[in-house]
């Protein structure tokens, strides 16, 4: 009986909680700010009902805007404006977070062989998975509550006037797609043999359902399709204007069906296997195995393709909206205001949208850098780096090459995205100077290279913290950007935001001076990082 003090299920729950709470705190704060901070800015920009009506009318006349935004009717009130402005992005973030987390917790741990020792004890695979998920459930609830608290606190502003109950529904609406895709990730973790593939299956479904809801929003005849997407269910939940609680049910039903099903699969299969069969035999391909540099490139081919597609999709989407928006709205003064509150420059509507495309590219590249530094650290933590460094390879050379590959990828993606923006503008009849655009696409990566340099320094000094600090820096940029929309911020605070440097104006002469500074500081920090890295211990997990 004395043995009861150690409970494997409690240990599993704690494990699931500890592995996820950091992400939950970040996403909770971020979504709370993004959903909560818009109201006051809106109330200030559109003080009276007449302005607001005109604004909504002009928004409704460009349904294409609904792709990356909520339904236009939400722009009628300060309390619900954030749904128009930010719901697409926050639900998308929550969905990606849910999917990434459950695939990492279940398939990722199994792939790393970390479930083996645990399952040697008295726990079954099904029970272990269940309790890990319960642990994640605690984090998930905490994320919702934090986001709720932030939205409710910011909604107290009499100008905004959002009730605590509505704030709760709004936070729930943001996280329901997260729940949906977390559940889907539990399922794909059983279907696929690797975490990468489990994630890819889930992301395929995610992109499809997000696009479905976007298309339903932008094309009036397709409006009904949103009934078939968890992102659409949040629109239908309509948390502030007229809540329809019934639309919580589809997600709950999905979760209640899928998780037991997945756990059943977990029970049926053997450890280290998957439901979808996979041949053990593999044809060998020996390309790019000549050196560590070659293999680093080989490892980065697929990530490069995925990030490029992502950047093209984002930049392309915003650019294609540009022309339609410009045609319909060049006469509407209200429209100029939306564009400027979205964060672009308001010189000209088209240019603003194109600039927005550029800014999103920079954002994607910032996130990609943090992910990449995280993966360099993971190579070390999992011991792959040991295998490389016990060979005749210089440490500093190894890290330098990895950083160069990353920098080249960043620049290439930015140029490809800039070219996409130019091509789309061209197709819609807006003629721009390609040379100028490409130069701007180059200067755009200055802030990204700075972040990479800082990340390399952190990696050289505090490897465990490098990626997380980089994410925090990106989130800080977001926070400053959001705060900027309703507070008058000191210029020096604005300058601490990476996004401040990530502006992109397709027609302006590029700012090579700032770029050179950012690049120079980035290289300096990276060199310091490489130097420190060569001097420190390699630390496995």
């Amino acid at each position: 009986m004395a043995k009861r003090t150690f409970s494997p299920s409690r240990a599993m729950r704690r494990f699931g909680f500890r592995q996820t709470i950091r992400g939950a705190l970040i996403i909770g704060v971020l979504s709370g700010l993004m959903m909560g901070a818009q109201g006051a800015a809106y109330a200030a920009a559109y003080p009276n009902q007449k302005d607001r009506d005109a604004f909504v009318t002009s928004l409704s006349s460009v349904p294409a805007l609904g792709f990356m935004a909520g339904e236009a009717k939400n722009a009628l009130l300060p309390a619900s404006y954030s749904i128009y402005k930010s719901i697409a992005l926050t639900t998308l973030l929550a969905a990606i977070w849910g999917l990434m987390t459950t695939t990492r917790l279940l398939r990722g741990q199994e792939e790393d062989g970390r479930l083996e020792p645990i399952l040697a004890g008295r726990t079954t695979k099904m029970a272990a998975s269940l309790h890990i998920l319960i642990g994640y459930g605690y984090s998930f609830v905490i994320a919702i509550v934090i986001s709720w608290a932030a939205i409710a606190a910011l909604g107290l502003d009499p100008q905004v006037d959002l009730s605590i109950g509505h704030a709760g529904l709004l936070s729930l609406g943001v996280f329901l797609p997260g729940l949906f895709f977390a559940s889907l990730g539990v399922l794909t973790s059983q279907l696929a043999l690797t975490r990468g593939r489990a994630l890819a299956y889930g992301l395929g479904v995610l992109l499809f359902l997000f696009t479905l809801r976007g298309a339903a929003n932008s094309i009036t005849d397709w409006n009904g399709w949103k009934h078939f997407s968890p992102f659409g269910w949040t629109d239908l939940l309509n948390p502030v204007l007229d809540p329809q609680l019934i639309w919580i049910l589809p997600t709950l039903a999905f979760t209640i069906i899928v998780i037991p099903l997945a756990l059943f699969f977990a029970k049926q299969r053997d450890l280290g296997e998957s439901v979808l069969p996979e041949s053990q035999f593999a044809r060998s391909h020996f390309y790019l195995l000549g050196s560590d540099f070659g293999y680093s490139i080989r490892q980065n081919i697929w990530p490069f393709i995925w990030w490029t597609l992502g950047a093209i999709a984002y930049a392309g989407l915003l650019s294609s909206i540009a022309k339609v928006g410009a045609d319909a709205l060049s006469s509407s003064p209200a429209f100029v205001k939306i564009v400027s509150t979205l964060g672009g420059n308001h010189d000209d509507i088209v240019i603003s949208f194109l600039g927005l495309g550029g800014m999103f590219t920079a954002l994607i590249l910032l996130v990609m850098s943090a992910v990449s530094i995280g993966s360099i650290r993971r190579q070390e933590a999992k011991g792959y780096l040991d295998t490389i460094l016990v060979q005749p390879i210089h440490r500093s050379a190894w890290l330098t090459k990895r950083l160069i590959i990353l920098a080249v990828m960043v620049l290439a993606i930015s140029l490809i995205a800039s070219y996409t923006i130019w091509q789309i503008a061209e197709n819609t009849g807006v003629s721009l100077d390609l040379w100028i655009i490409l130069q701007n696409g180059t200067t755009l990566v200055g802030s990204v290279l700075l972040l990479i340099g800082a990340g390399a320094l952190l990696y050289g000094v505090l490897p465990r913290l490098a990626a997380i600090v980089m994410y925090v820096a990106i989130v800080w940029g977001f926070v400053v950007d959001v705060l900027k929309s309703f507070l008058t911020l000191d210029d020096s605070i604005d300058k601490t935001s990476l996004l401040h440097y990530a502006t992109f104006t397709p027609t302006k002469t590029p700012d090579w001076e700032t770029f050179t500074w950012l690049l120079g500081i980035g290289i300096f920090l990276a060199a310091l990082g490489v130097w420190r890295f060569a001097k420190r211990d390699i630390v496995n997990e």
């Binding site: 690797t194 053990q280 060998s284 391909h285 011991g383 005749p392 210089h394 440490r395 420190r536 211990d537």
Partner: protein, 297 residues
């Protein structure tokens, strides 16, 4: 004799705790050195220092006469290493992994590699992620032996292998030795150590507690004495050098270091019906070494 590895006061501290405390050790060319110690003794810590993966808190290590951390990349041209837990890329196949490791090292003996693949009965046409632990261990061993490097460093290399494969491993180590290669072998398997090692270093709590050939170690250590009596066994607890006394009914077993004279007198006076004195088994030897509090002999 050419010195291959030399450590001087080699120390690694984690916080205030010394994982390795002032190690002085020399390994000569063509020698197989067994590196033993209970879990947490500091074996892996030593090997990571030798490989330049970590930096000493104090002291130094040289390999082939060069500083192990400063000239790591140069030294590694002549080293092959196999850890207890292999860290190979899950998405590569066995064949791709062997090719990649060979390319990283620079040059390998390809004919020997083919021979090793056959000997270890290894199927290279699968993804690493689908291999069992033993099979992953085989990749690392094949890659290491095939380099024919001057110095082979193994950290508990046979932990995932079945007895047949462990035997093949031992054969290959002996072949490497015959070939003039030097081997640093951290191990838990006494059979392995007994068969392969010229000298043995025993580590405990970060300190080197024994160093010598197996026979030398046996010489320093206790002799086991067993005797059966018609009546109650005599009391031997007061005798100098006696330890580990066990008494069941008429049976007495104890260890004795140093002179056996006094003990023999006491036993013979008590009229034993049987008497046996023997060298300790290897296992008893190591249990004894592991158990003595550090700093004592």
């Amino acid at each position: 004799m050419t010195v291959i590895i030399e450590t001087k006061k080699l120390t690694k501290k984690y916080g205030s705790k010394a994982a390795l405390d002032s190690l002085d050790l020399t390994v000569n060319k063509g020698e197989v050195l067994g590196y033993l110690g209970p879990n947490g003794a500091g074996k892996t810590t030593t090997i990571r220092l030798l490989l330049g993966l970590t930096h000493p808190s104090d002291g130094s290590a040289t390999i082939f006469g060069e500083d192990a951390t400063r000239h790591a990349a140069d030294i590694h041209k002549r080293i092959a290493y196999v850890p207890g837990e292999t860290n190979l890329w899950p998405s590569l196949s066995g064949a791709e992994t062997l090719k990649f490791l060979a390319n990283l090292h620079g040059s390998i003996d390809e004919a020997y590699q083919k021979e090793l693949i056959k000997k270890f009965d290894f199927d290279p046409n699968k993804k690493v992620r689908t291999y069992s632990k033993g099979n992953r261990q085989k990749i690392a061993l094949i890659a290491a032996f095939a380099t024919r490097a001057d110095l082979l460093i193994f950290d508990e290399p046979t932990s995932g292998l079945d007895p047949v494969m462990a035997k093949i491993f031992r054969d290959e180590v002996l072949a490497a030795k015959k070939n003039g290669q030097t081997v640093f072998l951290s191990s838990h398997i006494l059979e392995e150590v007994e068969e392969l090692c010229d000298r043995i270093a025993v580590l405990r709590a970060g300190k080197l507690v024994e160093l010598g050939t197996l026979d030398e170690l046996r010489h320093f250590s206790a002799v086991t004495v067993e005797a059966t009596f018609t009546g109650k066994p005599p009391s031997v607890s007061g005798i100098k050098g006696v330890s580990n006394i066990e008494i069941h009914d008429h049976f007495l077993r104890c260890n004795i270091t140093g002179s056996i004279d006094e003990l023999l007198t006491v036993i013979s006076k008590a009229k034993p019906v049987s008497f046996l004195s023997r060298k300790p088994s290897l296992e008893e030897l190591f249990l004894a070494i592991y158990k003595t509090p550090s700093g004592e002999k």
